[in-house]
Amino acid sequence: MKTIAQSWILLALAGGAGCGVAPQQAPLPGQTPEAVAAATVPGAPSAPKADEYPVPPPPFSEGIYPCSFCHDMLDPNPTPRVLNNHDAEQPLRHGPGRWCYDCHNPKPMDVLRLANGTTIPFSESYRLCGQCHGDKYRDWKVGVHGKRTGSWNGKKEYRLCVNCHNPHAPHFKPLRPLPPPVRPAEIHE
């Protein structure tokens, strides 16, 4: 029993570091990614209550999601390396030393995976980001980090982290400013 628990922890740690294959959670025939995501690891932080943080759908890249379209046929390879097609479309600029399986579940690929091995759907990706960006996650939950719309005294709509930050290159992109006001000297009418 002890050895099983130990190897289990080792596996979880390896998964968290992104250089190992996660505890296998192969979907049964007909099982959806959501069902897989719902299967949690004992001791993992509890999932948010339904509709606690109402968010819009994640901005999936067309032609890339669902990942399983290609990855169901491929074996997970945890070695960091140049990825020709993915690097061209979504170059990874997210701090040093990141790798796909830090966030993505190796198999099935259509869900994300927390450091403790829990798989979560893309619609709860804030839990994944919050693992490292805890201060932002804390502020986001109370509506201080990020945009929140809706009603100040009623129902509020949140945004997923990835609705504003590209997860592969999260730095906020500069914008073209709208025109400056007219100087008083330029008003002739």
Binding site: R148, C164, L175, P177, L178, P180, P181, I187, E189
Partner: protein, 318 residues
């Protein structure tokens, strides 16, 4: 013509006979002028349409009875519909009980893109030109000097923002709890509502602009010309004390989007901000995001030393 009812002057008391005649003469002249003025005003009013006459004789908004408010709203809605060729709604929603609106702006997030400026213009029916009116001014400041309004740049126009080494500070009405602008108004056309919003009754404003010189934030704006509001761009959802179309010669200002916030919505600038730097809520609600910010973040008030007590809080979210 009846005799002037005013008491006799001091001279009249001193030498009754002589001065009495003088005073009679004077009073006759005075009464004549008064009657002439009244007659002239009467003639002018008689030449007006009934609507114009009603608008001219309208009381202050706060003194209107429920029936009068309904009449005023109907008159304004008809006037705007005629002018802009589409139906308008002029709301008169009162303040929500136990509400004191507060605003917070994250200086560490704002990138100076001016999306808020134009969302505000659109939502609040500001004049588009001759001259344009914008209730929000975004100031570009140098990170080395920090908040320094005198050295700030209102007219920055680079290809992309944020510019290296700069930060941005949007300034709008600070909705002071101790507003100098309402105190100086000679006619009582501007006041603070129970929910803390400082409003203007455009139909009572005489356009003296005393409030503009009293405001230390440059947050009040004057309609020097007939406001230019293209009918196709006009926002038909309005409030009497907020974004209804204005006329020439009146002062206007940010009202925290009174037409939205009194219905529970966020102001337009909060909704548009692409970086989520703008926060709004009820200062009396311990669960609101503004309260969280005041209690947990580094917050400062603009020109705090003037004791205007703004309900607009600048903070650093990082």
């Amino acid at each position: 013509m009846t005799e002037d009812p005013s008491p006799p002057s001091r001279d009249a008391l001193d030498s009754p006979e002589e001065s009495r005649e003088e005073s009679l003469q004077q009073s006759t002249r005075r009464s004549f002028l008064a009657y002439a003025a009244a007659a002239a005003a009467g003639a002018v009013l008689a030449s007006c349409t009934p609507e114009e006459r009603e608008a001219y004789l309208q009381k202050r908004f706060r003194e209107l009875s429920k029936e009068d408010v309904a009449k005023v709203v109907a008159r304004l809605e008809a006037e705007y519909a005629r002018k802009y060729g589409k139906p308008f709604k002029v709301g008169v929603e009162p303040a929500i009980p136990r509400t004191l609106f507060g605003y917070a702006l994250d200086l560490s997030r704002c990138i100076g893109c001016r999306r808020c400026v134009y969302a505000c213009v659109k939502e609040n029916n500001q004049s588009r030109r001759s001259p344009p009116i914008q209730w929000i001014s975004v100031l570009e400041m140098d990170k080395r000097t920090g908040v320094d309004v005198m050295e700030s740049n209102l007219y920055y126009d680079p290809k992309e923002v944020p510019r290296e080494g700069h930060f941005y500070m949007p300034v709008q009405c600070q909705q002071c709890r101790n507003p100098p602008c309402t105190r100086v108004c000679p006619v009582g056309a501007t006041w603070q509502e129970p929910d803390g919003i400082v409003v203007v009754d455009y139909n009572w404003c005489v356009g003296c602009r005393c409030c503009m010189s009293a405001c230390p934030y440059g947050a009040r704006h004057f309609n020097w010309g007939e406001p230019h509001l293209p009918p196709e761009e006009a926002n038909q959802e309005t409030h009497y004390l907020g974004n209804r179309p204005r006329m020439r010669g009146v002062v206007e200002k940010c009202t925290f989007c009174i037409q939205r916030t009194r219905k529970g919505l966020y102001p337009a600038c909060v909704e548009i901000c692409p970086v989520g730097a703008r926060k709004f809520g009820n200062l009396l609600d311990p669960e609101s995001e503004v309260r969280y910010i005041i209690e947990n973040k580094r917050v400062f008030l603009l020109k705090e030393e003037l004791n205007t007590q703004p309900k607009f809080f600048y903070f650093y979210g990082v």
